[in-house]
């Protein structure tokens, strides 16, 4: 029963606090209501939102095609006592998450409003801009520990680049976020203007799992169960990694940094081994690649740790970490969602002090220049 937590919490939490300040690379803030965005939307788009709403490329407008296991995908203890959805109340977020876990910096990842999935690209661009403003106005200006990402929809590449320009001038954002489920695989050249601008600006490109594009979330079609669909978070990210590497994005943009968010990391080693094996055999098909695929992964990509894999034996988790590389991993909690990873208990394998420092703080500090 060595894994069992059955002791009083106070001493242990105090010890964790003195040991390490944490950079949490995946915190989800929420709107109270859509009308929160009105100050950041022109009258034209306010009217549009009210009259027409979302047009998505998937069925079931107003919910997700795969209802989640708990209301709003959230921890049941994360509903603010003041009302509103989980993640919508800064004071409660401080009290429940930022303060007790000693979060030094938290990177915001907004998922509201199917922000990357809007069929109407102009409406999509309008709400992306509104959400980008709202992050600063509602969160970052009130809580300096929280850092915003520039959200852009890559299928209107021109609008995306314009929004990146507008936001980058403000100097407040630490990352550019695009969806892993766009119209085409992310490595395709139509998206390269975004990668070029990210490289020039020195802003990492963040890719958070999920969202609903027009394609089934798995290569074999639409799953029957949430339990089954949730698996696609890993293998759709493996497909995205493969696309970016094999299409030559890191070769073409040698200073570009890419962060995979909420995909976990258990699948990365086998994806790299397989890409290397195929590259050795078929390199004449992809002569634009100058190096083994795993070399690009180990230099250009970072991976947030949640949802951490939980193999039966702790040493297997240790192996997964070593195969990816301690320098590639960024701790993330996914607060306030149900599959939250608690930094004190999620890593059920021993880590050295210096490894802990890298995963929980140092890697993110260097990457995001915090």
């Amino acid at each position: 029963m060595s894994d069992v937590i059955d002791r009083p919490s106070t001493g242990q939490e105090a010890a964790a606090k003195s040991r390490l300040r944490i950079i949490d690379c995946d915190i989800h803030p929420s709107l109270h209501a859509r009308s929160d965005l009105n100050p950041h939307l022109s009258k034209r788009w306010q009217e549009h939102m009210k009259t027409y709403g979302d047009h998505l490329r998937t069925p079931y407008i107003g919910t997700t095609p795969y209802p989640r296991s708990s209301p709003l995908i959230a921890r049941r203890d994360a509903w603010p006592p003041t009302g509103g959805p989980p993640g919508s109340d800064l004071a409660f977020m401080r009290k429940q998450h930022l303060d007790p876990l000693d979060v030094e910096f938290g990177i915001l990842q907004v998922l509201d409003l199917f922000i990357f999935s809007q069929q109407n690209l102009e409406f999509g661009a309008a709400i992306q801009r509104a959400v980008n403003e709202w992050q600063l106005a509602h969160w970052c200006s009130r809580e300096p520990r929280l850092k915003a990402s520039i959200l852009v929809g890559q299928d209107d590449t021109e609008a995306a680049v314009a929004e990146i320009e507008r936001c980058a001038k403000l100097g407040q954002y630490v990352q550019i976020n695009v969806s892993p489920r766009a119209n085409e695989p992310l490595g395709r050249r139509r998206y390269w203007p975004i990668y070029q601008r990210a490289e020039e600006l020195g802003l990492p490109l963040g890719i958070h799992v999920g969202g609903y594009g027009g394609h089934a979330p798995t290569g074999s079609g639409w799953p029957s169960y949430y339990c089954e669909e949730h698996q696609s978070n890993a293998h759709s990210m493996a497909a995205t990694l493969t696309s970016l590497v094999i299409e030559g994005v890191p070769e073409r943009f040698p200073r570009l940094k890419i962060v995979f968010i909420e995909g976990g990391f258990g699948w990365i080693a086998s994806t790299m081994w397989r890409m290397d094996q195929h590259f050795e055999r078929f390199r004449s098909e992809v002569p634009h690649l100058k190096r083994r695929p795993s070399e690009y992964v180990r230099e250009h990509f970072w991976f947030t740790t949640q949802p951490i894999d939980e193999p039966d034996e702790a040493r297997h988790l240790r192996s997964l970490i070593e195969w990816v590389g301690v320098d590639r991993l960024l701790y993330s909690s996914d607060y306030p969602h149900w599959d939250f990873d608690d930094p004190r208990f999620a890593f059920k394998t021993p880590l050295s002090e210096s490894e802990r420092k890298m995963i929980f703080n140092g890697n993110a500090r260097a990457l995001y220049k915090l």
Binding site: M1, V4, T10, S70, R76, D77, W338, D339, D342
Partner: protein
């Protein structure tokens, strides 16, 4: 084991719970179908507070298309990752060998018996006409 008076029975409605601190531990007391269960208020997986767990039934399926609900309200479904625990034993449903929530014996006593003492939480006001939840820690 010291016995602690932690609540009046009427204080915790069926399906509800109360968190009490005993010797520096958060203990959660559940009321299910007239019975009371006391468990440490921490999920053994990542430490989530169990008072926020959903009280669910055991759902099993012996064959496709056939479903059985049993032990209604006696299973805890953790507020975070949905791990299920048996309220009576604290045992994990999916990995009973390795995971368990610590449980504590509970008895119900009437105020008249309690008035004779001795009990630890003497500061808890006891009225002879009420009944009380006693947890042994």
């Amino acid at each position: 084991m010291p016995r602690h008076i932690v609540a009046r029975t009427t204080e915790i409605p069926p399906g509800g719970n109360k968190v009490v601190e005993v010797d520096g531990r958060d203990i959660v007391v559940f009321h299910v179908n007239g019975e009371f269960f006391a468990l440490l208020n921490r999920c053994p997986h990542e430490g989530a507070p169990l008072d926020k767990a959903a009280c669910v039934a055991r759902l099993t399926s012996p064959e496709p298309g056939v479903y059985q609900r049993s032990r209604v309200g006696e299973l805890l479904r953790c507020a975070w990752h949905g791990w299920e625990f048996d309220m009576r034993t604290g045992q994990s449903w999916f990995d009973p060998q390795r995971f368990k929530v610590r449980t504590y014996p509970v008895v119900i006593e009437d105020g008249e018996t309690l008035a004779k003492g001795p009990y630890v939480a003497e500061t808890f006001p006891v009225h002879i006409e009420d009944s009380y939840v006693i947890v042994e820690v």
